[in-house]
């Protein structure tokens, strides 16, 4: 395969990854690394570098659309970013000291966990939850738009959410993914933030988190322009098309399909990593 063909097939694969990632809300990053390593036999360090860059592109692109709707909470986002960016730097440092095969195994486990999370039911929180003292002090409580006007919400579980966010940052820096699933888990489950606020604020934070480790990956020479170029452009275009189609599509069926694909990729990554094939 020459460079022209490589660019073409990787670009098309990334387009599909970005499209499905946007439709299902799981993000394209989770399939880019398995695609590059398992299908195109790219070294996992190059794959992670390219994936990180595409994660920044989709997050910033989608955030630009979300912020106008007034769901995302800028204070919650900024406060938790102190945890995710510090975690991302730690994750990128860990990546220096572990083999590509161990990274592949961790990657596979995170894929399986993301698939599990996406297939689970979500329960809505009561609107009149007691806010914690810490949340008051940090001014994390806010309002969000509903059909009956802006509804106030309270935030709790700040230390647990903050710790989970650090973990999300580590995974992002180690694996080159947005860790959107863990971020939403921290905000939705631990901090009891309304789901729509959690997802949009999480998306907002993903770009900043990925930027923290992307700088380090680039200065280490892990970002290869020949791979990052088709991946970034493909995922970005795919996610933009996905966001447009989202309104009309039967997302539920697609969600299960994508979850199944992720399970297969997760198992493949674990097996390849454990047998030292990557």
């Amino acid at each position: 395969m020459n460079t022209l063909e490589f660019t073409g097939v990787v670009g098309l694969g990334s387009l599909l990854a970005g499209f499905l990632g946007a439709l299902t809300g799981l993000g394209g990053g989770v399939v880019v690394v398995p695609m590059l390593t398992l299908l195109f036999h790219v070294d996992i360090r190059y794959a992670i570098g390219a994936s990180l860059v595409s994660v920044i592109a989709t997050s910033s692109g989608a955030a630009a659309a979300y912020v106008r709707e007034g769901y995302s909470n800028i204070r919650i986002g900024m406060f938790l970013e102190t945890a995710t960016t510090a975690g991302a730097i730690a994750g990128a440092a860990i990546a220096l000291h572990v083999s590509g095969n161990s990274i592949a195994v961790v990657f596979g486990l995170v894929l399986l966990y993301s698939a599990y999370l996406s297939s689970r039911h979500r329960e809505a929180h009561g609107p009149h939850l007691q806010s914690s003292k810490l949340a008051d002090k940090l001014k994390l409580n806010g309002t969000y738009p509903t059909p009956d006007g802006r509804q106030p919400y309270n935030v709790t579980g700040v230390p647990a959410g903050y710790s989970l966010m650090f973990g999300a940052g580590v995974l992002s820096g180690l694996l080159g993914i947005g860790s959107g699933a863990v971020k939403v888990l921290a905000m939705d489950q631990a901090m009891k933030i309304p789901f729509k606020v959690s997802t949009t604020t999480s998306n907002f934070m993903i770009g900043v988190t990925a930027a923290a480790s992307a700088g380090l990956y680039m200065s280490r020479g892990y970002v290869a322009p020949g791979i990052a170029m088709p991946v970034m452009l493909g995922v970005l275009a795919g996610s933009m098309i996905g966001a447009k189609v989202l309104v009309k599509a039967n997302v539920k069926a697609l969600r299960y399909l994508f979850a199944a694909v992720i399970v297969v990729l997760g198992v493949e990554m674990i097996v390849s990593g454990a047998t030292g094939k990557l």
Partner: protein, 133 residues
């Protein structure tokens, strides 16, 4: 719409919303600009190197000239296709950083100094990542 926001929201929320719209524009512009530069560099790269056989199976690491912002800019002036792609990627990485920097200013305008400090911590971590090499 602004009426219900003022009554049901805390003071400052209206400003938050306006700031978020500015941030949205900033992010969109950054991504479009970065994608355009990557596309241009990519086209040049394919014209020049399209028929070579790439080897990404083994990890070599990229050369010094494609690692640091300073060397990348230097390569761009020499019309290196790979350096132009890297410049686009650098712009992309800089986009969320610019968003954080802008938020610091926005919090200062709102006199929310606790959040100015929190935002500056995030900015410091990001700067460490970008310039530690």
């Amino acid at each position: 719409m602004s009426d219900e926001m003022v009554t049901s929201a805390k003071p400052g929320t209206w400003n938050d919303l306006r700031i978020e719209i500015i941030i949205g524009t900033l992010l969109r512009t950054g991504v479009i600009l970065a994608a355009a530069v990557v596309l241009f560099g990519g086209a040049l790269y394919l014209v020049r190197h399209g028929h070579e056989i790439p080897d990404y199976r083994t990890f070599h690491g990229e050369p010094e000239s494609l690692k640091s912002p300073k060397d990348i800019v230097h390569g761009v002036f020499g019309m290196s296709a790979r350096a132009i792609i890297q410049l686009g990627l650098l712009l992309l990485i800089a986009t969320p950083v610019a968003r954080v920097a802008f938020s610091a200013v926005a919090f200062a305008i709102e006199h929310d100094y606790m959040y100015v400090v929190i935002t500056l911590i995030v900015l410091a971590i990001l700067s460490y990542s970008l310039f530690s090499s």
